[in-house]
């Protein structure tokens, strides 16, 4: 790797961002899903006029309020970090990243100050239907708010709809719709929001299960479980579908991440899917700790090829195919990409030098060359590779990506079964007798959070070493400040967020114990 920035600075900056993002994501998915569950409950109240539905709605609304209040604005810290710790990255992507984030900020502000206020303050102040509308708009608004963040993240995973301006050193948006409807962005939004629906359904079922075990609030618990089971089952099946789509998009756009997800080192036709695998502690390559062999694996033949390309015999490239290249299947070697990246950087350097020297004629012709379609597609596309010397530095942490993916998928399928059983038991009137299931439902709440976090680890660790896929490596995006100052803020955040989390859990547990107001 080119000596670009202090590795400890890069690692602390990454750790700090990961810590902030992961804590932020502890609060978000519950909001995304529980708002819809509350909206369904309130709809039943408005339709039937039964006070018990109002009581149920208000109880879950209280828990949503606690989660929302503690989590609100935790995402703003990420924006602080963009400006302080990731200034090169922020400048490089500014216009494209800024537009969706600005829309999100405006949407979130209006949603939060208007609809949520009506939800909480408006019970006896506005009509039933107006209140219900506010609840639905809160749910829809929260999920639309997530869209813009995920559009920005999707662009980082697959940069589209822009052109690099060498004068400003920024990527500038050429087509907003390409950015908005990028397959990666759409997949990410659908998958992330549906994962929030599943997590919230499990939360509702788990808390209700606790009431049943305590022999309290049985009516509330059973009705809540019924709603959450139906919503959760539909959402979990949809989650599997969106995950399947997202995986295919990754196989196409981020083949290295896909290879890491499956621990696939050597590509093949009719590749098998490793359903369960354990990595050995010994390394396959002594020069790269990211490459480890399986000590045990259970493989489903041909399934990976089908999952990636909907063809049982398709060729799926492994890590080595992507590093060494595979002419037969059209995969360019990393060395070739590095050469093209270096050429793109050297052209940009020539442009910079010509501009500095006041040689406008040369700068003009280089500008034309840099922004030409041919250069953008064949050289600038590999710009980020120019920062590397050793192709193996392009390999992400395979074991971490593999384990995170398999934990997420394994738990995802377990949740489908959980919803099937909860729906079956509640419809058969057997739920109160199934104490083992009620306990499992409670344990599933932290498991849902684990699956949700694991999903983000797959998305973000799996795409390393990139901060913008193929264009900007993480080391180039980081601000050159002292690693010590980043360490300080890392620990500050660790303390702040942990205090917030403890506060949320304390208030949340107490409100659950109090139960709904009579």
């Amino acid at each position: 790797m080119v000596e670009f920035a202090d590795l400890s600075l890069v690692n602390w900056s990454r750790a700090q961002f990961a810590l902030t993002a992961m804590y932020h994501w502890l609060f978000v998915p519950l909001t995304l899903g529980i708002t819809f569950i509350i909206a369904f409950m309130e709809t039943l109240y408005v339709k039937t006029g039964k006070e018990e539905w109002k009581r149920i709605t208000k109880f879950w609304m209280t828990l949503f309020g606690i989660n929302f209040a503690i989590g609100v604005a935790t995402g703003i810290i990420l924006e602080f970090e963009f400006g302080t710790n990731w200034s090169n990255y922020s400048w490089f992507v500014g216009d494209i990243f800024g537009a969706p984030l600005a829309i999100e900020g405006i949407l979130a502000f209006f949603m939060e100050s208007t609809f949520i206020a009506i939800m909480f303050f408006g019970w006896n102040k506005v009509g039933k239907k107006t209140h219900l509308l506010a609840t639905w708009l809160t749910a829809i608004g929260a999920n639309l708010s997530a869209l813009w963040i995920l559009v920005a993240n999707g662009w980082m995973q697959k940069p589209v709809g822009m052109v690099f301006n060498p004068d400003t050193a920024r990527n500038e948006m050429q087509n907003f719709w390409d950015v908005l409807f990028s397959q990666v962005a759409v997949d990410k939004w659908l998958h992330a929001t549906s994962s929030g629906f599943v997590l919230a359904s499990i939360f509702v079922i788990g808390v209700s299960a606790w009431f049943i075990l305590k022999k309290r609030e049985l009516l509330l618990a059973k009705k809540s479980i019924l709603i959450a089971s139906v919503f959760g089952l539909i959402s979990s099946l949809y989650l599997v579908m969106t995950g399947d789509n997202a995986t295919r998009t990754i196989a196409h756009d981020q083949p290295m991440k896909f290879a890491a997800i499956e621990g696939l080192y050597n590509g093949s036709e009719g590749a098998g899917l490793v359903a369960i695998g354990l990595f050995s502690t010994s390394e396959t390559d002594p020069n790269n700790e990211n490459l480890k062999d399986f000590s045990m694996k259970i493989e489903i033949p041909n399934f990976l090829s089908y999952m990636a390309f909907l063809d049982w015999n398709a060729f799926v490239p492994g890590v080595h195919d992507l590093i060494d290249g595979n002419e037969k299947y059209g995969y360019m070697s990393a060395t070739e990409k590095i050469e093209r990246g270096k050429l793109a950087i050297s052209k940009l350097t020539e442009f910079k030098t010509a501009k500095k020297a006041g040689n406008e004629a040369l700068a003009g012709s280089l500008r034309d060359e840099l922004t030409s379609q041919d250069f953008q597609e064949n050289y600038f596309k590999y710009f980020g590779y120019g920062y590397f010397e050793d192709p193996t530095d392009l390999i992400p942490n395979v074991p971490l990506t593999f384990y995170s993916f398999h934990i997420m998928v394994g738990l995802g399928f377990m949740f489908v079964l959980l919803f099937v059983f909860s729906l079956y038991f509640i419809l058969k009137g057997q739920l109160t007798e199934k104490r083992w299931f009620l306990r499992l439902a409670i344990i599933s709440i932290p498991l849902a959070y684990l699956a949700s976090q694991a999903g983000w680890i797959v998305a973000e660790v799996g795409r390393q070493p990139w901060v913008v896929q193929d264009l900007m490596p993480t080391m180039a995006g980081v601000t050159r400040i002292s690693a010590g100052s980043v360490q300080t803020t890392f620990w500050l955040f660790a303390v702040l967020f942990t205090v917030l989390l403890i506060a949320e859990l304390k208030i949340m547990f107490r409100q659950i114990k109090i139960g709904p107001k009579h």
Partner: protein, 77 residues
């Protein structure tokens, strides 16, 4: 029209004021947490720990562009 506007503003104002006034214990607690959190974030973290690097160190967009261009094209320190 001129009479209606202040009424709407007053109604919205009293809607929020009454809402906050009649909040339950948990509501007051979470609002306290929100205010402390926002104070820590904007009055301490943002001011003392998170200056915008490019805005603080450079005056114009051109200077910022030049700096980032320099960074992008000079990988070796």
């Amino acid at each position: 029209m001129t009479n209606k506007t202040p009424n709407i503003i007053r109604q919205v104002w009293s809607f929020y004021v009454n809402g906050f006034r009649n909040m339950g214990t948990w509501g007051k607690q979470v609002w306290l947490i929100i205010l402390i959190k926002l104070f820590i974030m904007f009055a301490i973290l943002k001011v003392f720990f998170f200056p915008d690097f490019l805005k603080t160190n450079f005056e114009t967009d051109q200077e910022r562009s030049d700096y980032v261009l320099e960074i992008l094209t000079e990988p070796k320190e």
